[in-house]
């Protein structure tokens, strides 16, 4: 069965198109990471899954039913951690979970759920006194009521400290092992790497890539970037390097050559430069990080090429482009404005 199925979904808010002709399928039992920078349309898509927002065009089906007509029945089997929610300030944590249990006609023990998300000690306090991270945990406890078939988590790690984010991932993993489908959004790729079977990357309301994290890495190029301090490199030397097998691009950056190549080709690059009479003062390599990869899809132009590469990731299409003037997606500084900037605590990497 299909847990989530969007067909030709478009959502316009006035003049703004938040989601554009989106097709998306999440199979039963899958852990699907829904990625994209802030404003890409992730929350709008999730709001449409919950029938909070109605699509301008297209159909949204969850757990085999149409959200427009069977929303309540769907949500009976779904656990949701919404984004930008707030709690009931005057009700205790336990009251919140009791309310979810009652709403779902379930038999769960609220205290057990609160203990599972690490809120056992705060169960009797008013949720209005909770920190952002505690509220996030509380909503997760509510989402876990009645062992839902589908978990929809919108930016689940936001507001959590590194330990909290790790616990969140452990719960996601445990729920997936139980057999639940998990659909969650994030603007940080590192968070999804560890838990996702598949990721989809949304950009400007369109799905620009969909694959396993490994597949995406290959599509962008399982490459390294070699930075060589070679002041004397002339055009011939650059051309010689570019002609090497395994080298996909060479850019000159002042006294430095930036070479995108397979890791096997590194020694060839240095050797070729020295053969051409260039003295190599220094060189170092860096692997394309997940952040780079993500930025390549969401800001660079790997996305447009992905149409070719995603179909068969084994082809040799050059994802970074041979043209030295091309913006090199792996060269984007990950500390630049964008996804990395939001919440340092939420960026914790689970390796």
């Amino acid at each position: 069965m299909t847990a989530i199925e969007l067909r030709g979904v478009t959502k316009e808010f006035g003049d703004v198109t938040a989601v554009r002709d989106l097709d998306l399928t999440v199979e039963d039992g899958e852990v699907y990471g829904f990625l994209g920078p802030n404003g890409a349309g992730k929350s709008t898509t999730i709001d449409m899954l919950l029938d909070l927002v109605r699509p301008t065009a297209g159909t949204v089906r969850v757990l085999g039913a149409d959200v427009a007509t069977d929303g309540v029945a769907i949500r009976r089997r779904t656990g949701v951690l919404p984004d930008g929610f707030s709690v009931y300030d005057r009700l205790s944590g336990r009251k919140h979970v009791e309310f979810a249990v009652e709403s779902k006609d379930a038999a769960d023990d609220p205290d057990a759920l609160l203990a599972r998300v690490g809120l056992a000690d705060a169960a009797d306090r008013d949720a209005g006194e909770y920190s952002k991270g505690m509220r996030q945990r509380l909503a997760l406890a509510m989402a876990l009521v009645d062992d839902p078939d589908l978990l929809i988590l919108d930016e689940p790690s936001s507001g959590l400290d590194p330990a909290g984010a790790k616990e969140m991932r452990e719960i996601v993993r445990a729920e997936a092992e139980r057999g639940a489908t998990v659909f969650f959004s994030s603007h940080i790729l590192e968070q999804v790497d560890a838990v996702c079977d598949r990721v989809g990357i949304l950009r400007d309301g369109e799905l620009v890539a969909e694959d396993s994290v490994e597949g995406l890495r290959e599509a962008v190029g399982g490459e390294e970037t070699l930075e060589v301090a070679a002041a004397g490199a002339d055009g011939d030397a650059v051309a010689a390097v570019r002609a090497l097998a395994g080298v996909s691009g060479v850019t000159r950056d002042g006294d430095e050559l930036v070479v995108n190549c397979d890791s096997d080709a590194k020694t060839d690059v240095i050797a070729t430069l020295e053969e051409a009479g260039v003295s190599v003062a220094d060189f170092h390599t860096r692997e394309a990080s997940l952040e780079d990869l993500f930025l390549a899809y969401t800001e660079g132009d790997a996305a447009t090429r992905d149409a070719d590469t995603a179909a068969s990731t084994s082809t040799d299409v050059d994802p970074t482009g041979g043209d030295p003037t091309d913006v090199d997606p792996t060269d984007v500084d990950p500390t630049d404005a964008g996804p990395g900037d939001d919440d340092p605590a939420a960026e914790e990497v689970d390796r």
Binding site: P82, S103, K104
Partner: protein, 271 residues
């Protein structure tokens, strides 16, 4: 049951709200003060309780303060949750939007009814202590009418809240409801009837009937008519029985129609 779950949650939240507690305390003190001030001295009059309620408490406190508490309790029911984002948490659970609107009418209506009973408790003690024949039946019965009045205003305000996309609009709506029904109903409807004179003449009813209808159409005056009939032991009997029936029907109308109208709008909104 979805409505019951929401009603219970909202009830718990509302009875803990400081604003509501403050209003009820104020109400209670005022009624008690009235009861003390106008307590019959010397010869104990048989109608003391009834007179106190219908002439003093009813006219000056219940018909002004209870609708106010109702509007305060109801106006942010849906829009408040919508603006804060707790509505997302609520609608993540298996509730329909109709469950939300009517659950809130029930939960906040019940909270307000409880508040009215609590508010009448202190005055009752004053009256019991005062040297008069305290008519507990009349007092309790009157409390029920006061509570009903509050519930109607909660329903109107919740309907308005459901239709409002922001708290500001809901607040403006709440103020408008109060001004219309409590302060200006007579003046506005009087002018309307005056302006619509020719139309009224064309109808197969007299303009007096129209005026009476408009009077009982206002939940405040409807409750006043019913409670006065009750205190005069003429509830649904006597000359004004038909008028009382219309009044009761209008109260039911005002309890159901505004939430339904609000729901129509709320149901189509993107949240």
């Amino acid at each position: 049951m979805s409505i019951a779950a929401i009603a219970r949650k909202d009830f718990q939240e509302t009875v803990q709200s400081r604003g509501m507690i403050a209003l009820v305390a104020l109400f209670s003190l005022l009624v008690a003060a009235f009861a003390y001030a106008v307590r019959p001295t010397g010869q104990s009059e048989q109608f003391a309780t009834e007179v106190l309620l219908s002439v003093f408490v009813g006219r000056f406190l219940v018909t002004t303060l209870v609708p106010l508490v109702g509007v305060v309790v109801g106006y942010n029911a849906v829009s408040g949750e919508r603006e804060s984002g707790s509505l997302k948490l609520l609608l993540s659970l298996p509730h329909s939007r109709a469950d939300v609107v009517f659950g809130k009418v029930v939960g906040r209506g019940a909270a307000l009814a409880l508040a009215v009973f609590a508010g009448f408790l202190l005055p009752a003690l004053v009256l019991i202590a005062a040297p008069v024949a305290f008519n507990a039946g009349a007092f309790l019965g009157y409390t029920v009418f006061a509570a009903a009045l509050g519930v109607v205003f909660v329903a109107i305000a919740v309907g308005c809240s459901a239709a409002s996309s922001t708290q500001r609009r809901a607040l403006i709506g709440g103020v408008a409801i109060y001004v219309l029904f409590v302060l200006l109903w007579g003046a506005i409807t009087g002018r309307l009837v005056g302006a619509a004179g020719p139309v009224v003449d064309a109808l197969p009813v007299s303009s007096t009937q129209v005026r009476v209808f408009l009077r009982v159409s206002n939940p405040t005056t409807a409750v006043e008519a019913l409670s006065n009939a009750f205190l005069g032991e003429q509830l649904f009997t006597g000359d004004s029985a038909n008028q009382q029936l219309s009044a009761a029907a209008m109260l039911v109308f005002w309890t159901l129609a505004p939430p339904l109208a609000g729901l129509l709008k709320f149901d189509t909104d993107d949240l």
